[in-house]
Point group: C2
Chain length 337, copies 2
Amino acid sequence: VSPSSPIKATLFPGDGIGPEIAESVKKVLTTADVSIDWDEHFVGDKVDPRTQSFLTWESLESVRRNGVGLKGPMATPIGKGHRSLNLTLRKELGLYANVRPCYSLPGYKTRYDDVDLVTIRENTEGEYSGLEHQVVRGVVESLKIITRQASLRVAEYAFHYAKTHGRQRVSAIHKANIMRKTDGLFLKCCREVAEKYPEITYEEVIIDNCCMMLVKNPALFDVLVMPNLYGDIISDLCAGLVGGLGLTPSCNIGEGGICLAEAVHGSAPDIAGKNMANPTALLLSAVMMLRHLKLNDKADQIHGAIIKTIADGKYRTADLGGSSSTTDFTKAICDNL
Amino acid sequence: VSPSSPIKATLFPGDGIGPEIAESVKKVLTTADVSIDWDEHFVGDKVDPRTQSFLTWESLESVRRNGVGLKGPMATPIGKGHRSLNLTLRKELGLYANVRPCYSLPGYKTRYDDVDLVTIRENTEGEYSGLEHQVVRGVVESLKIITRQASLRVAEYAFHYAKTHGRQRVSAIHKANIMRKTDGLFLKCCREVAEKYPEITYEEVIIDNCCMMLVKNPALFDVLVMPNLYGDIISDLCAGLVGGLGLTPSCNIGEGGICLAEAVHGSAPDIAGKNMANPTALLLSAVMMLRHLKLNDKADQIHGAIIKTIADGKYRTADLGGSSSTTDFTKAICDNL
Ligand SMILES: CC(C)[C@H](C(=O)O)[C@@H](O)C(=O)O
Ligand SMILES: CC(C)[C@H](C(=O)O)[C@@H](O)C(=O)O
């Protein structure tokens, strides 16, 4: 793909601050001369019976057709009779791996300045099965499901990612000392895949110990792969080390090579429409999408401009302690391109 | 109970460094004029059929009889046909609440200097049910069990603890947006108990968000109460904030008011017998045991001496970057008494 021929991609601006930060992405990409033909989809106002969700069938079809997409924050309406928007996307598009690179941003000070890791989360099963039963009054059970197929798939993705991104080590995170069979199967699959990648160091770390080590010395970690709930927890913990979900990108890899990049922070309804939102997470997610499209030069260039703008520190949005508007921060990035 | 009349308490020195750090506790307590008649029990070398574990029935009986105990690290032997030592204690003694105060130690520098919180973990059910099945080849399920009884019990303990320890806020940690029924029941029980404690602020925090907030700003938290696995994860994370499991105490509250204080770090076989181990976690756990026995003055005095010794920084064991022996560090504490 040449950077000047238009690429089709699905865009879910999402709710709350979503549309503003999506505008910022469009602006930056256009300025960098990346021509994307965005197929924009909004969350509907009624449940689509084909998806059982406020997301329409057409929206899902768009991602399937384009193979790539970018997603802002979506707030699932409260009520019964429909599925969570995020879970609908993961299930329907078979988004089996959630990839979240997490690194200290030069110039944005937190308690940690040496974080550079990637969490890879199994995204379809585990504790998210949705299977829960009340056995007798006052006794409720929920089922965690681990399958060989999904575990191998995400392990394969993690090792392949490590290899193609110059990473040295993959740590499988688990609690197999307690959940011997479920987490045990997950580890067994990771070990099988590890055999095929002798150049990558493989280790297994128990989740409680992993969290302790992450807060003491995150530089110990490189690529982490884990079942769904552990990934949910650890990816947010890691984001916290470098400043929070407003600064960390993510992308979801799905069946047939689909890539849906996603800002995982909330829709921040309190500041929506006020030109105050920080578009960094969505911008960095868009950069992940560009890399998926093999537009590495453009990705590097845009990434560099974002990092430089944050490091300069002159233009910062309120969440980072500054007072710049979304549009001024975006303009500063464009100027740095 | 007067501090000079001997109190009976069970002591499990445990494995590895266990006996050395238990010696340190005895020394410090004796020096502080706390006279305890220790009923010492060791982990056996064969499985006791009555407990299905290397822990004997007599050991369990001793804790039941004395009502209080102190436990060093125990390494469960590898192999089949027996239960984990820790899980045997929790199950057989009905140790329903694991209490871990976690605070920044003056003079021992980490990235955080403002931690002062207590995690209270449900210790008997949840993800630790041990119920796992292979459904078909390659598909394994494990059952998480949440009961109204255990949830109410631990919630009741947490609020009572907050009230009697001058704490203002209880945060229930959950993932009820996904596990609506199981974690939903846990929250429902917490809410019911919260009603009875109008003077304590009650809030609910989703576990992923909780971990992010803990690493960004742990001062936001006071008392945290949660199901078993979340407690396992978050208590270790919190220990990491202040230096690790070598510095943080814990105690387990069981049926009939049993209190088993416990150092939750490992048995460190590599340094066992070398007079190098750090006894701080076991010492601080013994302090928790003294408070349970209402020996608050003695507890304060010993606690003060431990804190002062660490703050002075002259005597520190190798894990804290010093080169003092266990006995020299212990002597320094005794001198500070
Ligand atoms: C919103 C919630 C359902 C979701 C999850 O638990 O997966 C979120 O925390 C995330 O990480 O994307
Ligand atoms: C050793 C292990 C079984 C135990 C647990 O998971 O509960 C430990 O991590 C703890 O926190 O006491």
